[in-house]
């Protein structure tokens, strides 16, 4: 029976798992936090009380005028924190997308086609896994000019390996399932099967892994920025801590400068991790990721 439009919508929502949110408070909390952060990022110009680039009297304590005081250039820390949400989330999401696209592509092709493709792709993945990613990121970020886009590319290109391994394992299971064999027997092309069936059956893992990839990318960006390898023109939370650490924030106990961005990083990472939380303790996804 053909479903009506509202019925279709409810089914789609149910497919995405939103319907089960009431049974999973942690995931609900994660979604709420991230929604707030995304809204803050989108509506930053309306929420921020000051232009974050506007300079003034440096190192002011929190007041009604400057809720979180000012930094070394006299810029409003609270406004910078709100605008920093944009940069941190953009870097996290874009890096996460890059790493997921590469990881899923490698994992699916290696798992589905097997043979020399699997050996080549998973061999390459193993080589990448052997390389300690943070030191390599530091070297690449230092070699390239500090810019937000370079950081996105560097973090994205070095964060796909675990996704590839995971997707590969899942695809190995899926490709042996009877309905895949039936579809193949019916003459559908490999690409059609991969997109319409294999990918669909690995989406739970991909969603969960994407969430962790974004969190991991944000943490990597914060680490690089803290080390002074970030983009000083696009102030992220990590970059705020870097300047607080280099320009007298820590030495003068200016907690309002370095603590809020640190807390924001923690809360956001926690929210992304909450998204991957399953209500059931016997969750297979949890075991896999």
């Amino acid at each position: 029976m053909e479903l009506s439009l509202p019925g279709k919508l409810i089914k789609r929502l149910s497919d995405t798992g939103i319907k089960s949110l009431d049974q999973n408070p942690l995931r609900s909390l994660g979604i709420i936090i991230l929604t707030v952060l995304v809204l803050a990022a989108v509506f930053a110009p309306y929420l921020a009380p000051h232009d974050p680039k506007q300079t003034g009297i440096p190192h002011q304590s929190p007041s009604s005028e400057h809720l979180l005081g000012t930094n070394d250039l006299g810029q409003d820390v609270f406004s910078e924190l709100i605008y920093g949400t944009r940069v941190s989330l953009t870097i996290g999401f874009l890096s996460g997308i890059i790493s997921i696209v590469i990881g899923v592509t490698v994992g699916i092709f290696a798992g589905y086609f097997r043979g020399w493709a699997e050996e080549l792709l998973m061999g390459t993945t193993d080589v990448f896994l052997l390389i300690p990613s943070l030191p390599l990121m530091i070297i690449l970020a230092a070699y390239l000019n500090p810019s937000m886009w370079n950081i996105i590319v560097v973090v994205g290109l070095l964060g796909w390996c675990s996704t590839a391994r995971l997707v590969h394992s899942r695809v190995l299971q899926v490709r042996e399932m009877q309905f895949i064999e039936s579809t193949r027997a019916l003459g559908y092309s490999d690409i059609y099967i991969i997109i319409r069936h294999v990918l669909v059956n690995t989406k739970d893992i991909i969603y969960a892994k994407f969430s962790l990839a974004v969190a991991s990318a944000m943490l990597s960006e914060a680490s690089l920025s803290f080390l002074g390898l970030g983009d000083p023109l696009n102030i992220s939370w990590g970059e705020m801590i870097h300047f607080a650490f280099s320009r007298g924030g820590f030495a003068n106990d200016l907690w309002w400068w370095y603590l809020p961005p640190g807390l924001m990083i923690c809360v956001t990472l926690l929210a992304f991790i909450m998204l991957t939380m399953e209500g059931r303790k016997d969750s297979k996804i949890l075991e896999l990721i």
Binding site: P58, L73, L229, P232, L233, R247, G248, G249, F250, A251
Partner: protein
Amino acid sequence: MKYITKLLIITVLISCVLLSGCTQTSENSTDSPTVGDNRIQKLVIGTTNKVEDTNMNDYSFGLFSSRLTHRALVTIGANGDIVPDLATSWDTSDLKTWTFHMVGNATWHDGKPLTAQDVRFTMDYQKKNNPTWKSVFAGLLSVEAPDNQTVIMTLDKPGFNFLINLATCRVLPEHIYKNVEDPKKFNTPDAWIGTGPYVLKSFDKATGLLHYEIYDQYWGQSPAIDQIDIRYFANTDTMMLAFQKGEIDVPYAYATGYSPYYVPKLLDNENIGIMTQKNGGITSVLWFNENKTYFDSKTFRQAVSYAIDYEEMKNIFTSGYGSIPDAGFVPQSTLYYKETRPLAYDVNKSKDLLDAAGFKDTNGDGFREAPDGKKFQPVLLIRSDKVEHVRAAEMLKKYMNAVGIDVQLKIMDRSSFGDILDFEKTHEMALARTTYAGMQTGSGYGSSYIDQRIYGWSMVNDSKFQTIVDQLMTTIDSEKRRDLAGQLQDYYADEMPAITVYNMDIIQPYNKNYVGWVYNPSSGILNYDTLFGLHKA
């Protein structure tokens, strides 16, 4: 019960032994800083200058070597005069031929005697192996060593500032370096051998710790400190926290002081003293490469100078420890300083000048196009390790954007930045400091930074400029020198090959429990006067 009593007695005994050990350790540690009456056993210096490798071409290693292990023929004294070092005296009649008479009893750290041959070898060796050397000593025609204690140097033309240049030249041992083809790869303990009062005993690359001990065969007066540790900190804040805790005795950075932001906390600490000095260099300078299209326009450079809010820069970056500079570029503490036009913030004048120079917004995007109609996005280079310059560059971008210049910031590591400014000369604009020594080299007044024939960050090869500089080099008469120095500052104020963005006094904190700290305009607080005179309060 007996068992418990026994256990108690044993516990008390063990506690007594342990506590007595603690007391002993405590007494030792109290005595440890000094040996004898006021001598200091170990001085711990903190720095953010990282030694990457212990070869003489490593910037930071060279820096510490010239302070502790190696000496030059002459050096710059605490009041800025040239004073004897390995040369006890010198004479010249025409500023072209210089005769140096050296100390007779100096030895290298391996016991071999220092001779005039070592000086001759050093000059020849550096000429061959050090690319920046040629720019300073290009006019050196010959170096002769007629005997072991006499060196004769001949220049192609009179050189008034020759001794200043010579003060930056550490003498190397011929018997060690004659077999070294590439000094950049020579980093064994032999590379550390000098004639200075300290010997480098160890270098831990992982922690960046350099450990020096006194050279017991040192030819001169014995220094006041037995051992020196130089501890590397990746970050000034962590160094300052360690300093406040007493883990280091003095933070050291070459030719610069520390941010005023640290001062309030340091003033609260009764063990810490702070000295302030006028800066003989310039903390932050905006350089234009006049060899590049658009940047050769005097009007453009002047327009940029009017776009900068110097009052705001002074307030944010110096917190009252600086002053608004003149257009004449050289610091007020310079000999024969001439008051020139003060740098002023005038956005409308800046826009008018840009219009006059042909930089107009023809496509209405808010940014000006070049006079030939091309997109104009000048690139400003900054060193990534100079966080204050990164912040200053953000401010400059804001100011330039406000007058329609779409400046692009390019942040580079120290090595790449140095390569571009010193050798490749591909920059358009750059933000960098000058040092006291750098301001004195060449003909002085910062001319070596400007002159294409020397460091030439501004790549100026204007005949008017070069005539003044050449005359300064050969003129002895003080009145004539004053006049020439004035002409040079007028030239800077008019042509603006470089703009002083802000200049901050040197703020140098130190451990107040030791007295005898001396600030040297060239080498800072780490100098021979400090090393030989420092003692417990």
